[in-house]
Symmetry: C2
């Protein structure tokens, strides 16, 4: 085993001997525990600074808290998640908690959760979970959990943060109807119970019926791949729909691309509305109308709830965000 000899790690013992105190005194200072005099604390902190000591997270994890939380994202491609992360990060800034991310790629959400539990993290935020209520309850039984973007009928063992996704669907439809569109389709995703997408679909259908457009309800579901989105968009266009509400922005941008490739002009030939109001919406070449659910706010609240839960709160809390339409050229009234 040829290993480079790593510079010896500085431990609590080194700090103790430098400060001339017992090593348990150092531990107490670190954890802000009771029963340390100001003099002792000052001396220890000085040594910590001098030696550049940082606690070994693995060792901490064996006994108490690691002061690290985990955040799980379903993918890194959807720019909405960057907004959520930004909110979480801001909320954590003034706390002693650090964060690591797990992004579902070839592995599964469950594997990532397991891996983070094995690392003894203090709590977990799962964004856009694809797990069932039962699975999430199982996780919540083992560590503090907040789920962001998943509507669960009866989550009592963990907190949730959600956009009012049914309202998103309603707002999108009402807006398009006001602009003069009637044959409004929805471009959705093959999904599962309790997902944000399911709620958006429900809101879409409800508003269509309320507007007397029930006969025009048309929900097309495509997997996440660009190729599939293309095919499904084409078929909607062939059906001569007048407007398409897409479950997330990048799908809307792809739909826009397909329409353009077919020589159609937006919104004249087909109007498009996205969801999340990510940074690409504002680009002139897209000018995509979108529903803003403030990912930043969502992340901020999720982090707040998680910390409260780590510090002892037992009762579940559920935070709801109200979406807001940002109208742009892609849904302008037909001339």
């Amino acid at each position: 085993m040829t290993r480079k000899s790593p510079p010896k790690r500085i431990t609590i013992h080194d700090v103790a001997s430098d400060a001339g105190v017992s090593f348990s005194a150092v531990s107490k200072v670190l954890r802000d525990a009771y029963g340390v005099s100001d003099a002792l604390r000052a001396r220890v902190n000085e040594s910590i600074a001098k030696l550049g000591y940082t606690p070994n997270t693995a060792a901490r994890g064996m006994r108490g808290k690691t002061h690290v939380i985990g955040v799980i994202f379903p993918d890194m491609r959807n720019p909405y998640f960057a907004d959520v992360l930004s909110g979480i990060s801001a909320a954590l800034e003034r706390t002693t908690y650090q964060m690591v991310q797990g992004i579902v790629q070839h592995s599964t959400e469950a594997a990532l959760v397991q891996s983070m539990m094995n690392m003894q993290l203090d709590g977990l935020i799962i964004v856009g979970s694809i797990s069932t209520s039962e699975e999430l309850s199982g996780v919540a039984a083992r560590l503090p959990l907040v789920v962001d973007g998943h509507h669960l009928p009866n989550a009592t063992s963990f907190d949730t943060v959600n956009n009012d996704d049914a309202e998103s669907g309603r707002i999108a439809v009402r807006h398009l109807v006001e602009q003069g569109y009637r044959k409004i389709a929805m471009l959705s995703l093959e999904t599962h119970n309790g997902s944000v997408i399911e709620r958006r679909e429900a809101g879409y259908e409800e508003a269509m019926r309320a507007a007397g457009l029930g006969r025009h309800i048309e929900i097309a579901r495509a997997p996440q791949s660009l190729r599939d989105i293309q095919v499904v968009t084409q078929s909607l266009i062939e059906k001569r729909v007048e407007a398409i509400f897409c479950w997330t922005d990048y799908v809307a941008l792809e739909a826009m691309s397909v329409a353009g490739s077919l020589g159609l002009s937006i919104p004249r030939d087909v109007a498009i509305v996205g969801h999340d109001n990510t940074m690409y919406c504002g680009f002139e070449q897209n000018s995509l109308t979108s529903l803003d659910q403030s990912g930043e706010q969502s992340g901020l609240q999720a982090a707040r709830l998680l910390i409260e839960r780590i510090e002892g709160r037992q009762k579940a809390e559920h935070f709801l965000i109200h979406p807001r339409l940002v109208a742009r050229r892609s849904s302008a009234a037909p001339a």
Copy 2:
């Protein structure tokens, strides 16, 4: 302290007693160590499966390897990083290594590195590092390190994976010159020594001179914010440049947006070339010419190198990727 009592964790001892062996025998099976009979191994594996045992990463970290590596990204907004992650993930799939990500937000790269060292991770991949050679050498002295996207004059204690960024700059310029453009500017980023951006600038300048266009060299550097990019793009357009080579795609998309807002048409009034060939380039409304440095390949190689290094390789290796131009409408020859 009212804490929910978490279901007791299954440890190596539980497995041992279930299998009727000593707990050290279990440890050996887990680590594939020498000196375990097939019969014992089979019995232990059966118990592991039955009990659903997974090793406690924190405990492992106290003595040996955690089998977890860390990947640090400078941000989550640039879609190029999703490609890199995908490559790393693919490379890890057939190994026993898990991965967590750290994304630089409000914290710093150095803080994230420290945090991951404290977690006793087995190795680190830093993508798009902003640290100096010295800082990175300091990290490499403590754990196996691969740096992706950072040209360091004399990295001997860690591996690197790089795109040939000077070549990217040259290819961009040559392509634009072939298409008939002469006043070619570069939209860059305020940056540091050894960065990929610096190299792209160097390649740009070199190719401009080689084409006899030295007098048209114009490098505008903007911070990462959309607002700043707007201002800088406007000033380039006011100088009546004929083409703009942007250091990364989303900057190019923003430049495109600014041009559009000013009523200019692309490429007739100004041609645009991006870098990374991320998924947005192919959208009809963008149709952005871009240099493909294959983020997936980059991630794949980085993970391979890191694992080799974790398993004992001492000599530094440096992998170079050759960029490839993907031409689209944004740089078509002026009619």
